[in-house]
């Protein structure tokens, strides 16, 4: 199984390097499709194995436990559909002559490296190496965001770089502090950085040091996760990046950053107890939902719209982890999964609208359902899912989180439900304006070659979204139960 894990992580790296060597668009398409296939295959092997209850380790470097496997699941799946979508989207840009083949190749190279960095971060068994990997993903993301050489893209890229570099630096300081604390127990060595060891000795670590460390890590990785008030780069970046990249940012990077926070949370909780991290996460989470809910209302740009909705959902997940408890933790994790699917779907649809309308202004977009039934329909469905409507999973996770919250602090539940209602109204107000009615503008056709890829990506994502919301297959069960146990609680899944 170790091999599968290695291949899973290495595949994007290889594909990225190969893609620089591709001559034609067709060869690129073959390459990336193969890449996607490999990702899915390896991921399923890893997930299946971990779901059995085993922990995959490769030397002292790689370690895939339930949480990592959960990340792999999302990264590989959304990554694969993202690759398909990107093939369509960037291919269209090429056909329209907006992008030369040289930059087309560079894009995919960066895109794959980005995936590679994230997969590495999710599976590496070392707090410092994880930091390095996440920094790597930040760097590649920075170049991807600034990929389109417009003023706006440049500005967004610059803001992203500065803010997330600062954040990542703070995260490093937190890592150093953790090391500083752990090396007193484990000695100056690699061991002092390994998750496994840290969990083992967590109870003997110095509480204050870990508290400080957690603050730095939370601020640091929180910046990348788009937690308010560190979220400010997020709408700009999502708005200006090429749409496949926006999808990856929302669907994957936020979750990855959350993953890092969770890893540290689990250590700190073991050391100082839940009552320390809980309130911080709660407050930041509620703040994020508030900010997002309000800014959704004043949006004029539909990509930024979905960006703010991402902030909202990160906030909801944080609230879930903040209230803790079996149901809360499960809710948070389940929320991450479903949000990844729903949000990538939403961005795929948004990207199609952008391609076929050529602008991002909400006011000027109407009658999508009439003009492009699939895109409009999937946008509505994704928006409903994001607004927390059954039969999609976000409804389940939100109710679960509210339930747990009400048990511990009723005011949190009230605040959460109220804010969710506002966010619901504001998001659906904007989306229904776009989806319904008579189309005002004529539509710029896209080539069938493009449509083939984008449609398949959309459909696969939609299917996954519906499935994950209504039914939990055995392997997910096999992941969720150990994950919650990992936070010291056990959720009963019938």
């Amino acid at each position: 199984m170790g091999l599968a894990l290695i291949v899973l992580i290495a595949a994007p790296l290889v594909a990225g390097l190969l893609s620089l060597g591709t001559r034609t668009r067709r060869s690129m398409e073959w390459l990336q499709c193969a890449h996607a296939a490999v990702l899915l295959a390896m991921m399923s092997m890893v997930v299946m194995d971990v779901a059995e209850g085993s922990v995959i380790t490769v030397g002292i470097l790689l370690r895939a436990d339930a949480l990592s496997a959960f990340m792999d699941l999302m990264l590989a799946f959304v990554g694969a559909t993202g690759l398909l979508y990107a093939l369509g989207y960037m291919g269209e840009e090429v056909t329209r002559g907006h992008v030369l083949h040289r930059r087309y190749k560079r894009f995919f190279c960066l895109f794959n490296l980005y995936l590679f960095a994230m997969l590495l971060a999710a599976n590496v068994d070392n707090i410092a190496l994880m930091w390095i990997a996440i920094e790597g993903s930040t760097l590649s993301a920075a170049l991807l965001i600034g990929f389109e050489k417009t003023k706006a893209a440049l500005e967004a890229g610059w803001k992203y770089i500065i803010l997330s570099f600062v954040g990542i630096a703070l995260a490093l300081f937190g890592t150093v502090l953790t090391y500083y604390a752990s090396e007193h127990v484990l000695g100056v060595s690699m061991e002092a950085l390994r998750w496994e060891e840290l969990y083992r000795v967590a109870s003997d670590l110095n509480p204050t040091a870990l508290k400080l460390a957690f603050v730095f890590v939370l601020i640091g990785y929180g910046t990348k996760a788009g937690v308010a008030p560190m979220h400010t780069w997020l709408p700009d970046a999502h708005g200006e990046a090429p749409t496949p990249v926006s999808a990856m940012l929302s669907g994957l990077m936020l979750n990855l950053a959350l993953y890092a926070v969770l890893r540290f949370k689990s250590i700190v909780d073991r050391t100082v107890g839940v009552d320390f991290t809980g309130p911080i996460l709660l407050v930041l989470g509620l703040l994020s939902i508030t900010i997002a809910a309000i800014f959704l209302l004043v949006q004029r740009d539909y990509k930024r719209l979905f960006a703010y909705s991402s902030i909202e959902h990160v906030g909801i997940a944080l609230v879930g982890f903040g209230v803790g408890g079996p149901v809360g933790i499960f809710g948070g994790l389940f929320h991450m999964l479903n949000h990844a699917l729903a949000k990538s779907t939403a961005f795929y649809a948004a990207g199609m609208v952008l391609l076929r309308r050529g602008h991002k202004t909400i006011e000027r977009v109407t009658g999508l359902v009439r003009q492009m039934p699939l895109v409009g329909g999937s946008m509505i469905l994704a928006a409903l899912a994001l607004a927390g409507m059954p039969p999609f999973g976000l409804f389940v996770s939100e109710v679960l989180i509210a339930t747990e919250a009400y048990g511990q602090r009723p005011w949190v539940a009230y605040a959460l439900l109220g804010l969710l209602a506002v966010a619901f109204s504001t998001l659906l107000y904007q989306v229904s304006r776009m989806a319904l009615g008579e189309p005002m503008e004529e539509d710029i056709p896209v080539t069938d070659r493009t449509r083939r890829f984008t449609t398949s990506a959309l459909v696969v994502n939609l299917a996954a979204m519906g499935y994950a919301g209504t039914h939990m297959p055995g392997f997910l069960r096999g992941l969720f139960i150990p994950m919650t146990r990992f936070f010291g609680v056990i959720v009963e899944i019938p």
Binding site: L212, P235, F295, V327, R370, A402, A413, F424, S432
Partner: protein
């Protein structure tokens, strides 16, 4: 046995969801498939409801889900069975009607999607009243709202339809949030979402929490039911949907909210409640009833008029239930049962005649392609059947004896009148006022339907639409006929209906009153035993049916053979034109003037005078509106303030990098100091 028919019902609707999508681009096939399947499901539902009411114990069935806290649990106790029966009965008639009505949409909208949604709607409503698990209830409840939203925006090319749909979606979602709060309160005590646990929690809820649950559920379900002031979405959304869906929404969907209330108040919170609960429900009901009918009177869009009447009737239902709750809280269980019985009786009645009336309105829309009453007129000759069925519905909703509406309103009157047995002076002085409001409501409803029927069907056609109208296809007529028959039966056969509803109320209240209420060998309803007030609609109906020919005979005997001459109506010497007829606006004018404090009407009159002489007008333009008080003073402020806040907060995202950095910096310092 029950399983079988339950299966039939669910499978029927299920097929109805999927089959139409298969027959792509063949609207007629889709139409037949969808509504045939719906019919199958509804018939199954009827049987299930009947069996559930007949069965001794509740029928319980549950599937485990793969998600935490969620159980796909179903429980068919008399209360659920009653509502399943109501839903399915209307479902049967509407499905038949729809076969004809949907032709209207061929080529304009996807019949497949429409049919699938229609079935999903019926299915979700059935599951809502069957659900035995809070979480599952919430899921199907939200799906019901979602599906109905999609049905409302079927004709989303119209701006007002989009507005209606969105308004509806928001309101219902906010309502759901309150329902969630209700269930969370129970969950805390019960430790699980199963209704069984809600019913008897490990330790009883403290009074404070009980009241929280009460208020939250009143708001939550009230939003869906359309109680004032949460009703504002209803007159937009119900008319916007295709008429057969409007019939379902107005006739049945809002009843699921009534179901929720009864379930929560009498089942979960059962026993002794503080008197003010019932009092609040009663007051809300009275206000809704009165305002609902008053706004209905001012509507000249037939479907909006009917929608406002739904508000009114929900109010009447709540008056019955509220009276029942008050009695319950004073331990007068007999009367409590009577009030609840009145409420539920009116629930089924309203489902039937409101369904019938909406189908009638749909037929008019089908025949004339307009909803504006001022363009109808004289249709009784073009569409005699529709006219007759509409008249039946009108008589029922106006609660004229011996109709079903009369029976349930009379029972409500009685339960209000019998309030003199309540020890508390204040409360018992309030209830007669409720009765007076109910009386006013009743007579205003009568006026409103005299207007609706008279202006739409009688006199001369007022527009080309009406002149070219034709009677509607047979399927639609059959659908209406079915409901009309049910209405009449519910009116003249209370001796059958009361015991059935008693099976529902008895377990909730704890006493069975059917045998006490039925007197004179079942002919009469006599709530308080011998010597007390009683009605016997069968006798009334019979005598009326007898006296009419008697009157005719008498006339013949005295006057001999009838000699008729036909001549045009006297119009002060000039020949009458349709434009000279009394309009709906004119009809409602005196009422508007008398109650102007409530309507706050605004009148605009522009006169364009002739150049030659300023004593003659070339053209005059008159328009009058009534003020949408609740929107103006309750809802708009909320929206406005939200927008204002959002505008203020833009500065947070001002675009300056240094500003953003300082956010992080400050957060960092605060957290560090907090930790230290």
């Amino acid at each position: 046995m029950i399983q079988l028919f339950l299966l039939i019902a669910l499978v029927g609707y299920g097929l109805g969801i999927f089959l139409p999508l298969l027959a792509h681009r063949r609207p007629h096939v889709q139409n037949i498939l969808a509504h045939g399947a719906a019919l199958l499901g509804a018939v199954g539902g009827v049987v299930v409801g009947a069996m559930g009411l007949a069965a001794e114990g509740p029928y319980v069935f549950s599937l485990p889900s793969t998600l935490p806290l969620l159980r796909y649990a179903i429980r068919l106790d008399p209360l659920s069975a009653f509502f399943v029966l109501v839903i399915s009965l209307v479902g049967v008639a509407v499905s038949v009607f729809a076969v004809g009505y949907v032709r209207e949409f061929y080529g304009r909208h996807s019949i497949g999607a429409l049919g699938a949604l229609y079935n999903a709607f019926l299915l979700s409503m059935t599951l809502v009243v069957l659900a035995d698990d809070g979480f599952f209830f919430l899921v199907v409840w939200e799906i019901m709202s979602l599906v109905s939203y999609f049905l409302v925006v079927t004709e989303h090319e119209k701006a007002e339809v989009r507005y209606a749909g969105f308004f509806y979606l928001i309101m219902t979602h906010v309502g759901t949030a309150f329902i969630i709060v209700t269930y969370l309160v129970f969950y805390q005590q019960a430790g699980s979402f199963s209704f069984e646990a809600f019913r008897n929690p490990s330790e009883p809820l403290p009074q404070g929490l009980r009241s929280v649950a009460f208020v939250a559920s009143l708001i939550g379900f009230g939003t869906k039911a359309g109680i004032v002031p949460l009703h504002v979405w209803l007159p937009y959304a119900h008319p916007a949907a295709p008429s057969h869906v409007s019939a379902l929404m107005s006739g049945v969907m809002i009843k699921t909210a009534i179901y929720g209330m009864v379930r929560v108040y009498f089942d979960f919170l059962g026993g002794e409640f503080p008197w003010w609960w019932g009092f609040v429900v009663l007051t809300v009901g009275a206000v809704s009833a009165l305002l609902g009918v008053m706004y209905a009177l001012m509507e000249h869009d037939l479907k909006s008029l009917l929608a406002y009447h739904s508000v009114e009737n929900i109010g009447i239902i709540l008056m019955g239930i509220g009276a029942g709750m008050i009695f319950q809280s004073y331990g007068l269980t007999q009367l409590a049962a009577l009030g609840l019985l009145a409420g539920l009786y009116h629930t089924v009645n309203h489902a039937m005649f409101k369904g019938l009336l909406f189908l009638g309105a749909g037929s008019l829309l089908y025949a004339t392609h307009t909803r504006n009453m001022e363009e109808y007129g004289g249709l009784i000759r073009k569409m005699p059947w529709t006219a007759f069925f509409f008249l039946v519905g009108a008589v029922s909703i106006a609660a004229l004896p011996p109709s079903n509406g009369f029976v349930s309103e009379w029972l409500t009157f009685q339960s209000l009148f019998l309030s003199f047995q309540i020890p508390d002076l204040l409360v018992k002085m309030m209830l007669p006022i409720g009765a007076a409001m109910l009386a006013l409501t009743g007579v205003l409803a009568l006026a409103c339907f005299a207007k609706a029927f008279g202006i739409s069907f009688l006199a001369m056609p007022r527009s080309a639409h009406a002149r070219n109208a034709r009677e509607v296809p047979v399927a639609m007529r059959v659908g209406m006929a079915g409901l009309a028959v049910v209405c009449v039966l519910l009116g003249v056969a209370p001796m059958v209906v009361v015991p059935v509803i008693d099976r529902v109320t008895a377990p909730l209240i704890g006493v069975s009153i059917a045998d006490k209420v039925l007197a004179e060998g079942g002919l009469a309803l006599m709530p308080m035993g011998v010597g007390s007030a009683a009605i016997s609609t069968p006798v009334l109906g019979l005598l009326l049916a007898l006296l009419v020919p008697v009157a005719w005979l008498m006339a013949v005997v005295i006057g001999g053979k009838l000699r008729k001459r036909f001549y045009k109506t006297w119009g002060c010497g000039i020949t009458l034109k349709p434009r000279m007829e009394y309009t709906a606006t004119g009809f409602a004018q005196p009422i508007k003037q008398v109650f102007s404090t409530i309507y706050r009407p605004t009148v605009k009159l522009e006169t364009e005078l002739l150049e030659e002489s300023r004593y003659f007008a070339k053209r005059m333009h008159f328009e009058t509106h009534i003020e949408p008080v609740f929107q103006k003073y309750l809802y708009d402020p909320v929206v406005r303030s939200l927008n204002a806040v959002a505008d203020r907060l833009r500065v947070v995202q001002a675009g300056s990098l240094q500003l953003y950095l300082s956010y992080i910096f400050v957060t960092l310092l605060i957290l560090l100091l907090w930790v230290r």
